[in-house]
């Protein structure tokens, strides 16, 4: 069961703006999804190794070489706001 205040808390963590009406709707549908999810409890998983990756392989490592070149102009060409090569955002407090 997810309350509206749960929804508001996780919405803030996820940086989503959700108004009262939406939080009601989401708390309903998310609670139903959570009930579905809790069907997992039917299975005893104690002692089972968690499986984060579908293939059982180790990390491949690359050599320490610089392979990328400066593409700032191109990459900033698609940015919402830049100046003097910097990405602009509302003032960061700190």
């Amino acid at each position: 069961m997810l309350t509206q205040s749960d929804v508001e808390r996780i919405a803030h963590l996820a940086r989503l703006e959700i108004d009262q009406g939406e939080s009601k709707v989401f708390s309903d549908s998310l609670s139903r999804i959570l009930a579905l999810i809790e069907e997992m409890n039917a299975v005893d998983t104690s002692g089972i190794e968690p499986m984060a990756h579908p293939q059982d392989v180790g990390l491949r490592l690359r050599e320490d070489e610089v392979t990328e070149t400066n593409r700032r102009a191109e990459l900033q060409g698609i940015a919402p706001a830049t100046e003097d090569g910097l990405y602009l955002v509302p003032r960061v407090v700190g």
Partner: protein, 485 residues
């Protein structure tokens, strides 16, 4: 009440790789904003991380020299939070299974030795930088630093004073520089320290509430910040208050710590294993190969240099302050085949004065070890006096002799060009002495009649006639021979 302070340190060391930890962009410091932020670093949709082997090697290096366990299986996780300098909205870091765990460092404060535990050292990526100036109330984001490899080294809360904390930090600083895994530059932020400080009544087992002091960028400030914070917490507790668990910043101008501005959010980082990166598996061969590359460590080097070259503790300490310094010294001794004490004196004295004046480290010395060895050889064999030796060093420092391809001959070329050599040619010296004696009939008479004090007069005259370049030992010998013979 007697209080005891408890300090633990978290040190972020930027690893000296050429490229970033998960992308092929350059990790060099100081470039134009965002010119080293590639598609992966700016987190374009669809890009993926690929791990840099060198970052793993460097972490293992540190692990091996702090007597730690190297985890054969370590995991990269995502630490989720929103911040404009964090392009993906998560930082890739090691959480539950770090690459290095359970090590220690020995420190010494006022003659007392102590072991400081290191809980773990884990690999992660650095964030970019927010710049707050000049943008009409906006912040500018530079992502050049985003993705630079960091090794975060977390100590146990084993330190009991600011002095111990500084000793630990200096030891660690020296170590990472010896290992050449970090340049240790605190101003540029490649060696950053956060300190967890709490106090408790002496004898109490449980820890007090701690404050975290963030990003303090010099040894001096670390010491002052911790000292201030200990006093502050004691004051709070003695006046009946409670220490609040919070992040505090040190203000070097006012010499105080104060809470981070603004409301601190309760963090919930939602760590989970990064599905883009399978576990990092290190085998024995990998670790063994890294072990083979380990350099001689500071303490061992200090002891050996002291023993092999018969130096004082002080000299050995100065000459092993960095591995580069020790290398310079040992090369200069070896190539010049000179008295090791003489070479030590010249490096610690005159050469260091030049380096300090221009704020250079030894590896950027204008006079290379080979050139310096040439100079030492000529001082040691008497070709140069102390005075002309200093002249020769100054000339070499200013770039004289730079045109000589064989660096070992640079000093000699300067000696010839500026005619600095003592006159070592006996025949020539005998001629000068004969002239002096011939012109000093009265004094010769005095000497031969037993007034040996006038001997100094002859020496002075010879030196005057040679412009100070005669070898005093030789002059003595020849004079005695001629006067007594």
């Amino acid at each position: 009440m007697k209080w005891e302070s408890v300090i633990g340190l978290e040190v972020h060391t930027q690893l000296l790789t050429a490229s970033k930890i998960f992308s092929g962009a350059s990790a060099m410091y100081g470039s134009e904003p965002n010119t080293q932020a590639c598609a992966v670093d700016i987190a374009l949709p669809g890009v993926l991380p690929v791990m840099n082997v060198e970052a793993a090697r460097m972490a293992v290096k540190l692990g091996l020299v702090i007597g730690a366990e190297i985890n054969r299986h370590s995991v990269f996780a995502r630490k989720n939070y929103f911040y404009p300098d964090l392009p993906k909205g998560y930082q890739i870091s090691q959480y539950e299974l770090p690459i290095v765990k359970n090590g220690y460092i020995d420190i010494e404060v006022n003659g007392t030795k102590k072991k400081i535990g290191i809980t773990r050292a884990h690999l992660e990526e650095d964030a970019g930088k927010s710049l707050h100036e000049d943008f009409h109330g906006l912040s500018g984001i530079d992502l050049n630093r985003a993705g630079t490899p960091l090794l975060e080294i977390v100590s146990e809360p084993d330190m009991r004073s600011a002095a111990e904390a500084v000793a630990y930090l200096k030891k660690l600083h020296e170590l990472v520089r010896y290992l050449e895994i970090c340049d240790g530059n605190m101003q540029e932020g490649s060696f950053r320290c956060d300190a967890n400080v709490s106090v408790r009544p002496k004898g109490q087992e449980t820890f007090g509430t701690r404050a975290e002091l963030k990003n303090i960028n010099s040894f001096k400030f670390i010491e002052k910040a911790i000292e201030f914070e200990i006093e502050r917490q004691i004051d709070v507790l003695e006046s009946g208050g409670e220490v609040v668990q919070e992040t505090r910043l040190y203000d070097p101008d006012k010499g105080e710590t104060r809470p981070l501005r603004g409301k601190e959010e309760a963090h919930d980082y939602r760590y989970f294993p990064d599905p883009d990166l399978p576990p990092l598996e290190l085998d024995e061969a990998f670790i063994e190969a890294v072990r083979q590359t380990l350099p001689e460590l500071p303490d061992a080097k200090r002891a050996r240099i002291k023993r092999d070259y018969k130096l004082s503790d002080y000299d050995a300490g100065v000459l092993t302050a960095t591995a580069k310094m020790a290398d310079y010294y040992e090369r200069a001794v070896k190539e010049s085949k000179s008295d090791p004490k003489l070479v030590a004196n010249w490096i610690i004295g005159d050469l260091s004065a030049y380096l300090n004046k221009e704020n250079l480290s030894i590896e950027h010395s204008a006079v290379s070890a080979t050139k310096f060895a040439g100079l030492m050889k000529n001082i040691d064999d008497g070709t140069l006096s102390v005075k002309t030796g200093k002249q020769a060093l100054e000339l070499l420092w200013k770039g004289e002799g730079a045109d000589v391809t064989d660096e070992s001959a640079a000093a000699e070329s300067v000696i010839v060009k500026f005619d600095l050599a003592q006159i070592g040619d006996t025949t020539k010296l005998e001629q000068v002495i004969d002239k002096v004696l011939a012109a000093s009939g009265a004094q010769v008479q005095q000497y031969r009649s037993g007034q040996e004090k006038v001997f100094g007069y002859f020496v002075g005259q010879v030196m005057k006639a040679t412009g100070g370049k005669a070898n005093p030992k030789q002059v003595n010998e020849i004079l005695k021979k001629k006067l007594n013979g």
